[in-house]
């Protein structure tokens, strides 16, 4: 199983975001670097959910916001490592919609179940494969690095 490591502060920030937007889905971008073949997340950047028509069970990040986030990340010598979102009152497992809309092959997708307003389980999935035709989600092992300072935004 591939590993997704991050500071505990980033992990907590993602989960807190899900609690704040409950009963709507939150979403954001994970920035980091590949270290010895594994993604190491260094920061989580909050993004707005464009799906105001169905925010309780859908999310979408404005591509213009993504462009800005990617530009800022590159200035800090970081890359987009993945994305996070919440599932209000629904398990932290990828859905058919999550899979259909996943196009960042090689990146991680982190999902937090928010049950009755409180963050519950958080899972991470690697979008593996090489093309849209053979892509698949594979579970990742989330490891928290307590030694790294607060870099969440």
């Amino acid at each position: 199983m591939s590993v997704l490591s991050m500071p505990a502060t980033v992990y907590d920030a993602m989960r807190a975001h899900g609690e704040e937007t409950y009963p709507h889905e939150c979403c954001g971008v994970l920035l980091g670097q590949v270290v010895r073949g594994e993604w190491h997340v260094e920061a989580a950047v909050r993004a707005g959910n464009m799906r105001t028509d169905s925010a309780h069970n859908r999310y979408s990040i404005d591509p213009a916001e993504l462009v800005r986030i990617q530009r800022d990340a590159m200035r800090q010598r970081q890359d987009i490592a993945g994305f996070y979102h919440s599932h209000p009152d629904h398990p932290a497992q990828w859905s058919a919609t999550d899979f259909a809309e996943a196009h960042w092959i090689g990146c991680s997708y982190v999902i937090t179940e928010v049950r009755s307003g409180r963050a519950a389980l958080t899972n991470a999935f690697l979008l593996a494969g090489t093309t849209e035709e053979d892509k698949r989600f594979e579970p990742m092992d989330v490891r928290l690095d307590e030694s790294i300072g607060d870099t969440s935004k």
Partner: protein, 108 residues
């Protein structure tokens, strides 16, 4: 001009985050980028040669789809073209409180 390559596509450009190309238009720049990179082209374009629906292309801060000339828009040496796949999803879960609002009542 500079083309910014997103993380998933860097494997097709030797890991580079930025590629410099010379072209008169957005379409020309994408063609120049993919001319000798057929695997990258398959990721960016569909079988009809159109940019895939989930691939967003920004000329500086503007979505190319909404420019008057779209992919035929002229580009300058100092312009930046950003390729950014879309990101969306969601649980699709319909809680009972929401279901009650849309489900028709059954008569006895």
């Amino acid at each position: 001009m500079t083309i910014i390559i997103p993380t998933p596509l860097r494997q097709y450009v030797d890991g580079q985050a930025k590629i410099e190309v010379t072209a008169p238009t957005v379409k020309g720049a994408l063609d120049a980028l993919t001319l000798e990179r057929p695997e990258l082209r398959k990721h960016l374009f569909n079988a009809e040669g159109k940019v895939r629906a989930f691939v967003n292309v920004y000329l500086n801060d503007e979505d190319v789809r909404y420019l008057p000339q779209k992919e035929d828009s002229a580009v300058m040496e100092n312009d930046t073209l950003t390729i950014i796949p879309s990101i969306a999803g969601g649980s699709s879960f319909q809680p009972s409180a929401f279901r009650r609002q849309v489900e028709p009542r059954t008569s006895n």
